[in-house]
C-alpha cells in the first residue's frame, strides 16, 4: 500500500491551463535565470517521480519506526537518511531560495506544486527540509552579510538543518509570554548567552545533519513585556568554528520528544538551551524585531501547513477512489429487491459517489486556492510593476490565514471521509487512509491554531491598510465574477457565488459594528471568527472551481465539436473514449456539485451568525477543576 496517487491531470490543468506559467517566465528575475514553462513542467514531473518512487514507499515505514529519543540523542527513522541526501543534493531543499547562496531561485508556484507531492507522499519527511529552507530564508532576508555567509549555503544544501523555536510551556498561542532569555556577552559583539526551554519544536534535533540551526525567540534583560520585547537569535546546536565548520556542543539539549497521534516520523522536541550556561546565540537584526522576522518564517510555514493538509486530502481522495472502484459490496440500488442481482463495486452506490464528489470538489478547490496564492507570491516578489507587486503581496497576506486554516480543517474532513469510504478497512493501518487521517489532524493545530488564524483574519488582515486590501481583493473577484456571469456555462454559478460573497461581506460589516457593543454581543465576532474564515474559504473554493469550469467548458465543447458529438448518446460515447473530454466534463460537473451542495454552507453560516447568539458566553459549564 505504498503508492501515492495524485491527480496529475488536475495539477497540470491548474499550472498550465488555469494559471499559466508564461507570464511568470517573462518577469526579469526569471528571464535572467532562463526559466521557461517546459522546464518548470519538467521539474514538476521530476518532483512527482521522486515523491512516488522514493518518499511514498517509506511513508508507512517511517510512521511505524517513529522518531526516537535515546539518551538525549534524537533518532530519525533510518529509512529517511538516504532519501534526505538525495532530496537536498538534487536541490529540492532550496527550490525558491536565493541563487547567490546556492538556492535554485524557482518561482513559488513550482515549490507549491512539488510541495504537494512531497507532503502528500510523506508529510513527516518533508517537514525537515521544508523548515530548513524557511529558517534560512529568514537569515537571508534579515541577517547580516556575515551571517548569510556563515549559514546560508550549508542550510540551502541541507548539510545543516534549521528549526523555528517559539513555543514554551506557558507560551503557546500566547507567544508574548515567552521567558527564554538572551544575556549580552561582554566583549563579543552581537553575541548572547541563551537560557530557556522550548517545546513542540518540529525536527528540533536529528541524527542526519552535521548541525541544526535554531531560530530562537528570546528576550533581553529589561526588554518590554509581550511580543514587543522579543528578539530573534541564531542558535546552532554545535558551535561554529572560525573556519565555518561545526564544532563543540553549544549546550542545546533535547531531553524528550512528544508521543503523538500522527506524523510519527517527525521528532517533536523539547529543547533546553543553556542548562550549563554555555549556550551562545547571535542576534538577527534589531533587538526588539524578533516577532517581525519570525513572521516571515511563520507565514511561509502557514502556507506550507495548508498545503500539507490539501496534499494529504488529495492523496486520501485518490486512495478512496481507487478502493471504491475495486471493492465489491452489495448490488445496484435499483436492484435491491432482486436476490440474485449481481454485486457491484461500491463506487456505484449514490452515497459513495456523494462522498467521492465532495472529496474531489474540496481537493480541487483547495489546490486552486493554494496554487493561486503561490502565484500571487511570485507576482508580489518578482513582478516588474511596483503597483502589481504591492497588490499581490497584500492578497497573499490576506489569503494566508485562509489557506492555513480552511485547508487544514477541510483536509481533515476529507481524509475522514476517505476513511468512511473504505468502511472498516479504512480504520485499519493496512490501508493508507488511516495514516493520512492521523497525520492531517495536526495541521489545524500547529503553526498557529486555526482559531489564531481566524483572529488574524478578523483583527489584522481584513482591517489591514484601512480595509483597502480586502476591498481591492473583492473588487478583483467581482470583476472576474462578471466574466463568469457572461458565460452561459457559469452564469448560474456566478450568481450563487455573488450571493455568497455579498453575505460574507455583510457578516464582516456586522462584526465591525458589533465590536462597539457593550453587551455580550461584542463577543459574537470572536465566537464566530472561525465561521467567517470558513465562509471565505468555501466562497473561494467555489470561485476558483467556477473559473476552472469556465475554461474546462470551452475545451469540452471544442472537443465535442471536433469529434462531431452533438447529441447525448454521442457525448456519452465520447466520455468513454476520450480521457481529455472526460476530464474537462468532470471539472464542470465538480463545480456544479460544489455550488449546489457545498457552497450553501455559506448561507447556513450567515443565518446562524445573524442570530447573534451568545449562550456559550453565559455561566453554563459545570466546573471540573477545583
Amino acid at each position: 500500500m505504498a503508492d501515492y496517487k495524485v491527480d496529475l491531470r488536475d495539477v497540470k490543468f491548474v499550472l498550465n491551463e488555469y494559471l499559466g506559467l508564461e507570464k511568470l517566465c517573462e518577469f526579469s528575475r526569471f528571464k535572467e535565470l532562463d526559466f521557461d514553462a517546459d522546464m518548470l513542467n519538467d521539474m514538476m514531473q521530476q518532483g512527482l517521480k521522486f515523491a512516488q518512487e522514493t518518499l511514498a514507499p517509506i511513508n508507512k515505514e517511517g510512521d511505524e519506526a517513529g522518531a526516537k529519543n535515546e539518551n538525549g540523542q534524537v533518532i530519525v527513522p533510518k529509512c529517511y537518511h538516504e532519501p534526505y541526501w538525495t532530496y537536498v543534493n538534487n536541490g529540492w531543499g532550496a527550490t525558491t531560495s536565493n541563487p547567490e547562496y546556492g538556492g535554485m531561485g524557482l518561482p513559488e508556484i513550482i515549490n507549491t506544486c512539488v510541495g504537494e507531492f512531497f507532503s502528500g507522499s510523506n508529510c513527516s519527511f518533508a517537514m525537515m527540509p521544508g523548515l530548513t529552507k524557511s529558517a534560512a530564508y529568514v537569515i537571508d532576508s534579515c541577517g547580516s552579510d556575515e551571517q548569510k555567509e556563515k549559514y546560508l549555503e550549508k542550510m540551502y544544501t541541507g548539510v545543516w538543518a534549521g528549526t523555528m523555536c517559539l513555543t514554551e510551556p506557558q507560551a503557546g498561542s500566547d507567544v508574548g509570554a515567552s521567558k527564554t532569555m538572551a544575556y549580552p556577552i561582554e566583549g563579543k559583539e552581537n553575541c548572547y548567552k541563551i537560557v530557556g526551554n522550548k517545546q513542540f519544536i518540529t525536527f528540533g534535533d536529528n541524527n542526519i545533519t552535521e548541525n541544526v540551526i535554531h531560530l530562537v525567540l528570546a528576550r533581553t534583560p529589561g526588554a518590554p513585556a509581550g511580543t514587543r520585547g522579543i528578539g530573534l537569535f541564531i542558535v546552532p546546536r554545535n558551535k561554529i568554528n572560525e573556519d565555518g565548520s561545526s564544532g563543540e556542543s553549544n549546550d542545546v539539549a533535547c531531553p524528550s520528544i512528544e508521543h503523538k497521534m500522527g506524523i510519527h516520523g517527525s521528532p517533536t522536541c523539547v529543547l533546553n538551551f543553556g542548562d550549563n550556561d554555555n549556550c551562545e546565540g547571535e542576534l538577527i537584526g534589531d533587538i526588539y524585531s524578533g516577532m517581525k522576522y519570525m513572521f516571515i518564517m511563520m507565514n511561509e510555514e502557514r502556507l506550507m501547513v495548508g498545503m500539507q493538509g490539501m496534499a494529504m486530502a488529495g492523496a486520501a481522495y485518490m486512495a478512496a477512489l481507487k478502493y471504491s472502484q475495486e471493492r465489491q459490496q452489495g448490488c445496484h440500488i435499483t436492484k435491491m429487491r432482486e436476490p440474485d442481482a449481481p454485486k457491484v463495486t461500491i463506487d456505484q452506490h449514490p452515497d459513495v459517489r456523494r462522498m467521492l464528489m465532495t472529496m474531489k470538489a474540496y481537493t480541487e478547490g483547495m489546490r486552486a486556492l493554494l496554487y493561486t496564492t503561490g502565484q500571487y507570491i511570485d507576482y508580489g516578489h518578482w513582478s516588474d510593476d511596483e503597483e502589481e507587486k504591492k497588490k499581490y503581496s497584500g492578497f497573499v497576506e490576506l489569503l494566508t490565514p485562509i489557506c492555513k486554516a480552511y485547508c487544514s480543517d477541510t483536509a481533515f474532513r476529507v481524509t475522514e471521509m476517505a476513511m468512511q469510504t473504505h468502511g472498516g478497512y479504512g480504520y485499519c493501518s493496512e490501508y493508507p487512509v488511516e495514516q493520512y487521517c492521523s497525520d492531517t489532524k495536526i495541521t489545524s493545530i500547529y503553526e498557529g491554531t486555526n482559531a489564531i488564524q481566524a483572529l488574524d483574519l478578523l483583527g489584522r488582515k481584513l482591517p489591514m491598510k484601512g480595509g483597502s486590501v480586502m476591498m481591492s481583493f473583492v473588487q478583483e473577484i467581482n470583476e472576474r465574477l462578471g466574466k463568469l456571469k457572461d458565460n452561459e456555462a457559469t452564469a448560474d454559478m456566478a450568481a450563487r457565488l455573488s450571493d455568497a460573497l455579498n453575505k460574507t461581506q455583510a457578516v464582516i460589516m456586522k462584526f465591525m459594528g458589533l465590536s462597539k457593543e457593550k453587551s455580550l454581543q461584542a463577543y459574537v465576532p470572536f465566537i464566530n471568527a472561525c465561521d467567517l474564515l470558513e465562509m471565505l474559504g468555501d466562497f473561494l473554493c467555489g470561485f476558483f472551481l467556477a473559473e476552472e469550469a469556465a475554461i474546462a467548458d470551452g475545451k469540452f465543447k471544442a472537443i465535442c465539436a471536433e469529434k462531431g458529438a452533438s447529441d447525448d448518446a454521442a457525448v456519452a460515447a465520447l466520455l468513454k473514449d476520450s480521457e481529455e473530454a472526460k476530464f474537462y466534463y468532470s471539472k464542470v460537473q465538480t463545480a456544479d456539485f460544489f455550488m449546489n451542495n457545498l457552497l450553501p454552507r455559506v448561507h447556513w453560516k450567515e443565518s446562524a451568525i445573524n442570530n447573534l447568539n451568545t449562550a456559550c458566553m453565559n455561566d453554563v459549564f459545570p466546573n471540573l477543576v477545583d
Partner: protein, 262 residues
C-alpha cells in the same frame, strides 16, 4: 570515450491503455509520457562511464517534438547533447525502420565507442531495436546486461541468461542493452534540469540521414500493425456452495463438459 544512448518516450507505466476499435495505435489522449524505464538504466550507465573515464554522452531518439521531454530527462541526468530524428518520412516506422534510421544517425555521428539502450521499451515490449541497430552497424552486441566494466578497447559485461548469468568480454565499439539491476538511475537534479535547456539538440530528417523514400517510415518497414485489440474480459468465476459430496460431482461434470479440461 563517446557513448551513444538510444532512448524512447513511452506512456507512464501506470497508464490505463485504451484502444479505439479499428485503429492501429493506442488512444494517446491525456497519457503521461516518460523516458522508457530501461533506457534510464542505459543513460545512467553511460553517464557513470563518462564520469569515470571522461568523454561524452550523446542521446538519440526517433520521435515527434513531444519526445524532447524524454530527451530533456536524459540531458538533465547528465548526458551532453542529443539528436532527434523527426519528419513525416518516419511515420509508421516499425522496429526495422526505426533501427535503420537510428543506425544511419549513429553512422553519421561516427567515432563512437559504445552504444547503450534499454533491453526493451515498455510500450510495445518488442525488444528488437537495439540488437537490430548493432546488426546494421556490423558491431557486436549483448542484451540483458546487468554489469558493465569498461576496459581498454573492450567491455567486460555480465548478462542474464536462462537460469544464470553469463560473463563476456566484448570488443568495442559494441552495443549493450540494459536490464534492471545494471545500476540505480539517478534522479535529474534541479540544476541538471536547468542545464539541460542549454545543451545542444540536433533535429535530423530522413533526408539528412540519406535515407530514400522507400527506406524510412511505413515504406521502409517489414511489418505493419493491422489491428490492436484489448484482451477479452475475463468472465466472472463460478462459486459452488454446499457439502463436498454434493458439489464435487457438479464441478467434475462442468470441468469435463464445459471447460473440457478433464
Amino acid at each position: 570515450m563517446k557513448t551513444i544512448v538510444l532512448i524512447k518516450q513511452v506512456p507512464d507505466t501506470e497508464t490505463k491503455v485504451k484502444v479505439n476499435p479499428g485503429e492501429t495505435d493506442i488512444n494517446r489522449e491525456g497519457i503521461n509520457l516518460v523516458l522508457n524505464p530501461y533506457d534510464e538504466f542505459a543513460a545512467e550507465e553511460a553517464i557513470k562511464i563518462k564520469e569515470a573515464k571522461g568523454g561524452e554522452v550523446v542521446v538519440c531518439t526517433l520521435g515527434e517534438k513531444k519526445a524532447e521531454e524524454a530527451i530533456r530527462t536524459a540531458l538533465a541526468m547528465g548526458a551532453d547533447r542529443a539528436i532527434r530524428l523527426d519528419g513525416e518520412a518516419f511515420a509508421g516506422s516499425d522496429n526495422y525502420a526505426t533501427a535503420k534510421a537510428l543506425a544511419k544517425a549513429i553512422e553519421k555521428e561516427g567515432d563512437y565507442d559504445l552504444i547503450l539502450c534499454g533491453k526493451q521499451a515498455v510500450d510495445d515490449d518488442s525488444a528488437q531495436v537495439g540488437t537490430l541497430v548493432a546488426e546494421m552497424l556490423g558491431i557486436p552486441s549483448a542484451s540483458l546486461v546487468i554489469n558493465c566494466e569498461v576496459g581498454d578497447g573492450s567491455v567486460t559485461i555480465t548478462r542474464e541468461i536462462e537460469g544464470g548469468n553469463q560473463e563476456l568480454e566484448i570488443a568495442m565499439p559494441c552495443l549493450l542493452t540494459a536490464q534492471k539491476g545494471l545500476n540505480e538511475p539517478r534522479y535529474p537534479s534541479l540544476p541538471g534540469i536547468m542545464k539541460a535547456k542549454r545543451k545542444k539538440l540536433d533535429v535530423l530528417s530522413a533526408g539528412d540521414l540519406g535515407l530514400g523514400a522507400d527506406e524510412a517510415g511505413a515504406a521502409g518497414s517489414k511489418t505493419a500493425i493491422k489491428e490492436l485489440s484489448m484482451p477479452p474480459e475475463r468472465k466472472a468465476g463460478q462459486v459452488f456452495e454446499g457439502e463436498p459430496e454434493e458439489i464435487v460431482p457438479k464441478v467434475a461434470q462442468l470441468l469435463r463438459e464445459e471447460a473440457k479440461v478433464i
